[in-house]
């Protein structure tokens, strides 16, 4: 579903992403791990067509994002880091806007999509509230609802559980797990336990390069008996 081939992005003299290559199939939940500044977000921004790669490309469902970004954006659901949304709109208005841009123009189709997204993410109690008045957990869920609204086959989630309390984290994880069977999901995180909890594949990225791409079990087997964060530290020790 997602094919990433040799992505490169340079900011000034710093090579943020340096030849990242991987594929994600339907049913995969890929955990995208790495220290802060390793290039996780930049890679995701290139897959979603927000940034233009300096070299390489990403294919979603066989469509090249550098050739037809709008078609790729139609297939993707993307939750950017810290879930940006228009603060002065209410949850309902905001999701209504997303629905219209996603092509649900008729009033009943629009309402159906918005209601579905609100129910999936348990936003019903705040649907008439403006987004700026919401707590961090609710804001994150609004970002989620926005990404899920058109029931995309591919989900790209940049730190979906960042800043949530343990209960909310759990809820978001089960949400991702429940719908993953029919989708390809990439989620970035720096919480290692999250990988154990939901991912069936892990990619560790350090200084813009992929340093590990395997199942969580295989990753564990690299250093039998060691905790995940120790393995993580060994793999990314150059990136301090």
């Amino acid at each position: 579903m997602i094919e990433v081939k040799g992505l490169v992005k340079t900011y000034g003299t710093k090579r943020a992403v340096d030849g990242v290559t991987f594929t994600v199939k339907r049913g995969d939940i890929l955990g995208f791990l790495g220290p802060n500044g390793a290039g996780k977000s930049t890679t995701m921004k290139m897959i979603t067509g927000f940034l233009r790669p300096d070299a390489g490309t990403a294919m979603v469902d066989g469509i090249d994002v550098t050739v037809d970004p709008v078609a790729v954006k139609q297939k993707l659901g993307y939750l950017p880091e810290s879930a940006p949304a228009y603060p002065e709109m209410t949850v309902e208005e905001f999701l209504g806007f997303i629905a219209e841009v996603r092509g649900f123009r008729a009033a009943d189709a629009k309402r159906a999509q918005v209601d579905r997204a609100i129910n999936l993410t348990h936003l019903a109690p705040v649907r008439k509230q403006s987004i700026e008045t919401l707590s961090k957990g609710f804001k994150q869920r609004v970002g989620f609802a926005q990404a899920l609204l058109h029931d995309p086959g591919v989900l790209v989630l940049d730190e979906p559980t960042d800043g949530l309390d343990p209960n909310q984290k759990n809820e978001v994880r089960s949400l991702i797990k429940n719908m993953a069977s029919a989708k390809a999901v990439i989620l970035s995180t720096h919480i290692l336990e999250e990988v154990d909890a939901i991912c069936n594949r892990v990619i560790i990225i350090s200084r813009g390069k992929v340093v590990a791409d395997e199942t969580p079990e295989r990753l564990r087997a690299r250093q039998p008996g060691a905790r995940l964060d120790e393995i993580f530290r060994t793999l990314t020790h150059g990136d301090i």
């Binding site: 921004k45 810290s82 949304a85 228009y86």
Partner: protein, 242 residues
């Protein structure tokens, strides 16, 4: 181009979701009408025209249009929603046009809210409606040309203050080029030929707005305003697609 309408709708309604719209509309109306009354001599002139109202528009727009346009892109950049917007299935051009049209419609609303003035004129005398309509058309077109500059400046920075100051600066230049003071300076002090001074003055809002207030809609003036809008919006797209 189908995607322009949801962008337009969100942006236009967005003005009214915050106090921005109300503050802007009230300040715009008060300042434009008060200038016409006290500085322009709307009643004193004893003539049933809106010339005293439109006369101050190029100067008023200098500050008020950048105030309405500075947030267009700066705010999206600052709050990070630009990332949301450009990962939705829309092209940069659609987003630029949708937002610009929304701001322009808002500006046109502010201008048209002065409708009690022509009604007053009709009550007191027999105004020439053609002149009034061409004045409104010219003012709205000129507002769009100011707004194109402001939208472009807003796309260059995530700081709204910088966006405002740059917009005012460029608009001041585009106004001053058309003043008699400037052309006098060009021909008298610098000794340049009159034809050259006139050519420079052609790039000013003033030069092209003047005829509208006299009731003349010259295709050249209309073309100037539209090409300025087109040019700035083109650069706007370029600035956003890095």
């Amino acid at each position: 181009m189908r995607q322009i309408s949801p962008i337009f709708k969100r942006e236009f309604v967005g003005y009214f979701r915050s106090p921005v719209a109300y503050v802007f509309l009230i300040v715009f109306l008060l300042s434009s009408v008060l200038l016409a009354f006290f500085a322009g001599g709307f009643f004193r002139g004893r003539v049933a025209t809106l010339e005293s109202y439109f006369y101050f528009h190029p100067w008023l727009f200098l500050f008020l249009v950048p105030a309405a346009g500075m947030r267009l892109w700066s705010e999206e950049k600052r709050s990070g929603t630009v990332e949301l917007l450009f990962t939705l299935p829309i092209t940069t051009l659609e987003a630029v046009i949708g937002k610009f049209l929304a701001a322009w419609a808002f500006l046109a609303l502010a201008i048209l809210m002065s409708f009690p003035m022509p009604i007053t004129l009709a009550y007191l005398g027999a105004p020439d409606w053609g002149v009034i309509i061409s004045g409104y058309a010219g003012s709205i077109l000129m507002g769009g040309a100011y707004l194109g500059v402001c939208s472009l400046m807003s796309a260059l920075t995530k700081n709204q203050v910088i966006s405002f100051v740059l917009s005012v600066f460029i608009c001041v230049i585009l106004v001053l080029l058309g003043t008699s003071m400037f052309s006098g300076f060009m021909t008298g002090f610098l000794g340049m030929p009159v034809a050259f001074a006139d050519a420079i003055a052609n790039f000013s809002y003033l030069t092209h707005f003047d005829a509208f207030t006299k009731g003349v809609i010259d295709p050249k003036d209309v073309l100037f305003f539209f090409s300025l809008m087109g040019f700035t919006l083109f650069l706007n797209v370029v600035a956003l697609e890095r």
